[in-house]
């Protein structure tokens, strides 16, 4: 099978699910990696090291910033000329959007956020979560080429072979009067992104309830709550920092204004699947559980022994998170030599 794999990157840094997609493509046959951008030849080299047989490189000032229309036009032309059997994308914001547009341009269908894939007689059947993972569905695509976006961390990342090379083919970016202009970026809080995180430490509404704290004078009730929550989330962030983990939050914590929305895990936030998920002061509403239930090892710290989160957890501590979480941070610091 001849597979095109779209390499999603930001300013030359690839999102890791792109390499996982090369790995999947290699299990099916040959891989042509698509690298679009400006000054991104280094990325083409890395694509070879992750297993690409060929890299189709569109290096052009018109592609300096991701713009859906410009990237889709270049992609559409390439796919129409190259006649791949399959197009793979990482399920990232850009990957999902480009896959959507490519399906229209190529008159085919997209199977999105796929977590498993099998082939029989050259026909692909995928599995993907729906209802935020409350159910799974199998999907097939009757038109060609099928387009698939792969969920990050659902497939293994191939080993990087330093110095491995392949055929580099330079291609022209599509020209045209594209309707959007990128003015710039505002950066997020930084830190580890939830989707790529191997470890996530999350806080819930419980982090604002530390009775041992005395808030500064002059705050009203809501300000006291937020202040207490900030103190609580500082503990969550310290543990995350020691573990190199991303910080997550329940919807309750986001809605109460303790943490910004991009940190929300759950049905109306991000669906995550880390190796370790440590839930601090999260009781486990069904929408939250849907967003993290496929994590490999779930750890729950909650004062309520009846909290639903314990039904999913491998390890639990029924106790005061304001004592347990700092103690856990100290224990990991010692054991990990940090």
């Amino acid at each position: 099978m001849n597979t095109f794999v779209y390499i999603d990157h930001f300013k030359g840094t690839a999102l890791p699910a792109s390499w996982e997609a090369i790995g999947v493509g290699k299990t099916l046959g040959t891989v042509k990696a698509l690298v679009f951008g400006q000054g991104v030849e280094a990325l083409a080299k890395t694509a070879f090291e992750y297993g690409a047989d060929e890299v189709l490189l569109a290096d052009d000032a018109a592609l300096a910033d991701y713009r859906a229309e410009a990237f889709a036009a270049t992609l559409g032309k390439l796919a129409a000329d190259g006649a791949p059997d399959l197009l793979l994308f990482p399920t990232t914001t850009r990957g999902r959007e480009l896959a959507a547009m490519a399906a229209i341009d190529l008159k085919t269908g997209v199977m999105v956020d796929v977590t498993a894939l099998e082939t029989a007689d050259g026909k692909i059947t995928v599995t993907r979560p729906i209802y935020a993972g409350k159910l799974l569905t199998k999907e097939t695509c009757s038109s060609k080429p099928p387009i698939i976006t792969l969920r990050g961390r659902a497939f293994p990342k191939p080993a990087q072979q330093a110095g491995k090379s392949g055929t580099l083919t330079k291609i022209a970016a599509a020209t045209g009067d594209f309707p959007t202009k990128v003015e710039g970026y505002t950066t997020g809080e930084g830190g580890v992104s939830l989707a790529d995180a191997g470890v996530i430490v999350s806080g819930g509404r419980g982090v604002s309830n530390n009775p041992a704290l005395t808030p500064p004078a002059g705050l009203d009730e809501k300000q006291v709550e937020i202040w207490k929550a900030q103190q609580g989330f500082a503990l969550v962030k310290e543990l995350a920092s020691v573990l190199g983990a991303a910080v997550g939050a329940s919807r309750a914590a986001v809605d109460a204004g303790y943490v910004p929305y991009p940190n929300q895990v759950g049905q109306t936030g991000k669906v995550v699947s880390p190796d370790v998920y440590i839930a601090c002061g999260i009781s486990g509403a069904i929408q939250h559980l849907a967003g993290m239930r496929t994590s490999k090892v779930i750890v729950a710290i909650n004062k309520d022994a009846e909290a639903p989160i314990f039904k999913l957890a491998r390890y639990g501590v029924v106790g005061d998170l304001f004592q347990i979480v700092p103690a856990l941070t100290a224990a990991f610091k010692k054991k990990l030599g940090k």
Binding site: F10, L15, A68, T92, E97, A99, A100, M101, A103, I104, T108, G109, V110, D113, I130, Y131, L135, L136, T137, K138, E139, T140, C141, S142, P179, T180, K181, V182, E183, G184, Y185, T186, T187, G188, L243, Y261, Q264, Q267, T268, V276, I286, Q287, T294, K296, V297, A300, F310, K311, A313, R314, Y315, G316, V318, G319, D320, Q323, A327, A331, F332, K335
Partner: protein, 262 residues
């Protein structure tokens, strides 16, 4: 500004959704509601109308029951609503859905902005906004958290959005018409007012068939041969207890490290 907002009726996010013994997807007695993301889209559309004038039309594809999602949009303040309903519109994939919505936007005519929620919480695809934009030939301003429209009168309408991406926000400008999808940090959707609910309950909602849209039934290419309950997690929770917080933490850290996943 003339705005269309596309909404969908879905099972409530708190629903326990399972594949029942008859093989069908069941959400028990949980209510069907407007897709929570679409409430942000309605809110965004109403705020543009409040700032610039114009109108907001809510549309959906579905049966009679889907009118409830339209009524919710009307109760929030949308001016009118259209149900797109046809026996041929079943088991549609995203590109088929986009074809129908794009045809509806074109039939309405003079539309300057089409709003969507970022995705529907049932199929979780998040493809339809970009696909509808592609079919209309309009810019796709997906995952918008901030929308600012400028111009009007003799000047062409332009828009500046902040889009949520993995690295933060991308600031993009474009000319209208455009398609937008909305994320939650746009701001909380308003609650329907009492007057709004009364108005919505009395509203006459026209239904458009494919013939009225003037398109043939779009072919779907994605099939769903099997829907399954996820494998149950065979976990028994080991509660770490006894001793001081430091001792409990020590024991818990050892257990986690022994899993060899850190």
């Amino acid at each position: 500004m003339k705005i269309v907002v596309c909404v969908k009726q879905v099972p409530d996010s708190a629903a326990k959704v399972v594949v029942a013994e008859d093989g069908k997807v069941s959400w028990g007695d949980a209510p069907l509601v407007i897709n929570p993301w679409d409430e942000y889209a309605v809110e965004a559309a109403l705020r543009q109308k409040e700032a610039l004038g114009g109108s907001v039309t809510a549309i959906t594809i579905g049966g009679e029951g889907s009118k409830d999602a339209l009524k919710h949009a009307l109760a929030m303040g949308a001016d009118d609503a259209i149900l797109i309903s046809d026996p041929a519109l079943v088991n549609m994939d995203t590109q088929a859905t986009a074809q129908v919505l794009a045809a509806a936007v074109q039939k309405i005519g003079g539309v300057e902005a089409t709003f969507f929620g970022r995705q529907a919480i049932d199929a979780d695809s998040g493809l339809v906004p970009a696909q509808t934009a592609r079919l209309l030939g309009w810019p796709a301003l997906t995952l918008s958290a901030v929308i600012k429209v400028d111009g009007g009168g003799s000047a062409p309408l332009t828009v500046r959005v902040e889009r949520g991406v993995e690295e933060g926000r991308q600031i993009v400008t474009a000319k209208l018409p455009a398609v937008f999808s909305l994320v939650k940090d746009f701001g909380e959707p308003r609650y329907p007012s009492f007057m709004g609910i009364r108005k919505a309950s009395r509203a006459e909602i026209p239904a458009w068939s494919l013939a009225e849209l003037g398109i043939p039934a779009p072919a779907s290419v994605i099939a769903w041969p099997e829907i399954m309950n996820p494998p149950s997690r065979e976990v028994t929770c080991e509660i770490i207890s006894g001793g001081s917080p430091a001792e409990i933490a020590e024991a818990l850290a050892d257990k986690i490290l022994a899993e060899k996943v850190l």
